[in-house]
């Protein structure tokens, strides 16, 4: 049934429909409505789950690792500083091969204290062994959260569903909320690969010496590779029931495009509007939406970008001393393709500044008029900064 829902509420509905059994959260800024709604569901009996209010995000993830190890489906949500505090435990969750699902609302890192949209918080966790799925609208947020459980439980790796602060988390729009029996058909009861069992006691995550550690890491690497294929299968199964499919990437008008924009999150919607603006004027421009960031869909990115003359990456994030993070990944993906196009990296919208169609249009004509990138990263929309000398 279609309802007008906030993005945060769409996540909560998906968690309810996934019949999550343990929710743990630290409810303070920069937390969002997601866990507020879930706490209401648990209190009112709308969900049959245990809700653990913990004293920090570090404890939150520790609690979920314990719960998931005992064989139940778990969930939490966090954001920016909260995710940063969780960092150590993110490694423990993936290393223990626990299919925990977390909603991560992309908010800027402090200081300056800023609760607005910025992707650096989640992208800084790219090496923790968590899958990362970036969403474009409220429907995709709901669908992806349900899909994330299916995928995570197949490959035994945790998954992060990532949504833009405010542009998604606080925005109401129509979202189709599926029936419970449809979701049950798609998402079977969780059957853990291993559980802590007092009747058959053993240790998890013990000391691992050099003779086994590397193999354990390789096993995670293989599971990540497998997740790329499994993601397509999960989407196929999902589409059969719900008639919706997103793809690890979506190539929008990329066929025959001279310039292709690479986008993620809600900037993709702005990119769609850019195409509506420019294509009728004869501009050969396309957009490549990246949904799946970990595992990174290298082959799909190569296919979509291989024939473009120029690639533009819009990054609402930055790795100091390097460049925009999506731009790094795109460069790495295509660098071994002979004759690959140059990659123009643009930094925009940090800390919640709007990325408008007009801004993307200015970038388009800047790139069209340049034979090669002037710099690794061009920051757009900057006001003049007076630097202390």
């Amino acid at each position: 049934m279609k309802k007008v829902l906030e993005g945060s509420h769409a996540v909560a509905e998906a968690v309810r429909l996934a019949k999550v059994q343990v929710i743990s959260a630290y409810p303070i800024t920069p937390q969002t409505h997601i866990v507020e709604i879930l706490s209401d569901y648990v209190t009112t009996g709308k969900m049959d789950a245990k809700y653990l209010r913990v004293e920090s995000e570090h404890s939150c993830m520790a609690a979920l690792i314990g719960a998931q190890s005992s064989g139940v489906r778990t969930f939490t949500a966090t954001s920016s500083q909260g995710l940063a505090l969780m960092h150590e435990l993110l490694h423990w969750a993936s290393g223990a091969r626990l299919p925990i699902v977390m909603a991560e609302v992309n908010r800027a890192l402090a200081p300056g204290w800023n609760i607005w949209n910025d992707q650096t918080d989640s992208l800084a966790q790219r090496d923790t062994g968590w899958m990362q799925l970036y969403c474009e609208d409220g429907q995709e947020v709901l669908d992806t959260t349900i899909q994330a459980y299916r995928l995570a439980e197949i490959v035994n790796l945790p998954a992060m569903v990532v949504l833009d602060a405010f542009y998604l988390s606080h925005t109401y729009e129509p979202v189709d909320v599926p029936d419970q029996d449809e979701v049950d058909r798609f998402l079977p009861t969780y059957e853990p690969a291993f559980i802590l069992d007092t009747k058959h006691p053993y240790s998890l995550s013990p000391l691992v010496t050099p003779n086994a550690y590397m193999e354990m890491r390789y096993d995670i690497a293989m599971a990540m590779d497998d997740a790329l294929e499994q993601f397509d299968r999960v989407e196929d199964e999902f589409a059969k029931i719900f008639d919706r499919r997103y793809g690890a990437v979506e190539a929008i008008d990329c066929e025959g495009a001279d310039i292709v924009f690479v986008t993620s999150g809600t900037v993709t919607s702005t990119g769609r509007l850019l195409l509506e603006e420019l294509r009728p004027r004869g501009e050969k421009v396309g957009v490549l939406k990246i949904k799946l960031f970990r595992p990174f869909p290298v082959e799909a990115v190569r296919r979509a970008l291989g024939k473009a003359k120029k690639v533009v990456v819009i990054d609402r994030n930055f790795s100091f001393g390097a460049s925009g993070i999506f731009a790094q990944e795109v460069r790495a993906a295509i660098c071994n393709v002979p004759g690959h196009p140059p990659v123009f990296g643009y930094i925009a919208g940090l800390g919640g500044r709007d990325i408008t169609v007009k801004l993307l249009e200015e970038i388009y004509f800047d790139v069209k008029g340049s034979s090669a990138p002037r710099k690794e990263s061009i920051w757009v929309g900057l006001q003049e900064v007076n630097r202390a000398t």
Binding site: K2, F166, H170, Y172, E173, P174, G352, D354
Partner: protein
């Protein structure tokens, strides 16, 4: 696409008004999007919230800077805020004010509508005597001003979403719908 900006103060139900109207418009067949000013909320402080309406899926996800219409839930805001900021020429301004207390001269080039939503809210005992909750009355006046959404959709949204006193809120919306004075273009 239509873009509407709502001004109010924290605690007056400004954000809720945009959510309820978005639900009413959706019920009436529109594609909708509503969101608060992206920031922090404080009781009594100026608040903004936004509503977008279109026939097709709304892809735009930026702040509203050039609204087609504006709703002002608290006329004391006029002393500190330019509610016409970015407002398109000829756009409606719906003001919570008795008609004789409004100063039309400051709204030249726009269309003005007045409704005494505070009196209506007090009459229906919505909120407290010092902090009446005017949002549902403003919704009724809004529906009359634009000729949409249908009052039935407004009443349904209130009945489904307002946790307390749905009947009094609906009565306030209906009364404001009847009482709003559409002064029209200020020359």
């Amino acid at each position: 696409m239509l873009e509407i900006r709502f001004h109010g103060r924290g605690g007056q139900g400004t954000v809720v008004a945009t959510i309820l109207l978005s639900k009413a418009f959706f019920q009436a067949g529109y594609q909708v999007q509503s969101f608060p000013f992206f920031g922090v909320e404080r009781r009594g402080a100026p608040v903004e919230a936004y509503l977008r309406l279109d026939a097709k899926k709304i892809l735009l996800r930026t702040n509203v800077t050039a609204p087609d219409h504006v709703v002002v839930q608290d006329q004391t805001l006029l002393q500190s805020i330019d509610v016409t900021r970015g407002l398109k020429p000829g756009g409606w301004i719906l003001l919570n004010s008795p008609e004789d207390a409004a100063d039309p001269g400051r709204f030249r080039g726009f269309k003005l509508a007045c409704v005494d939503a505070t009196r209506i809210a007090l009459k229906h005992q919505l909120g407290t005597r010092t902090h009446p909750i005017v949002n549902t009355a403003m919704m009724g006046a809004f529906a009359r001003m634009l000729g949409t959404p249908p009052m039935e959709a407004v009443c349904n949204a209130i009945r489904e979403e307002v946790p307390s006193e749905p009947d009094a809120n609906i009565a306030a919306a209906r009364e404001a719908y009847e009482e709003v004075i559409l002064i029209g273009e200020i020359l």
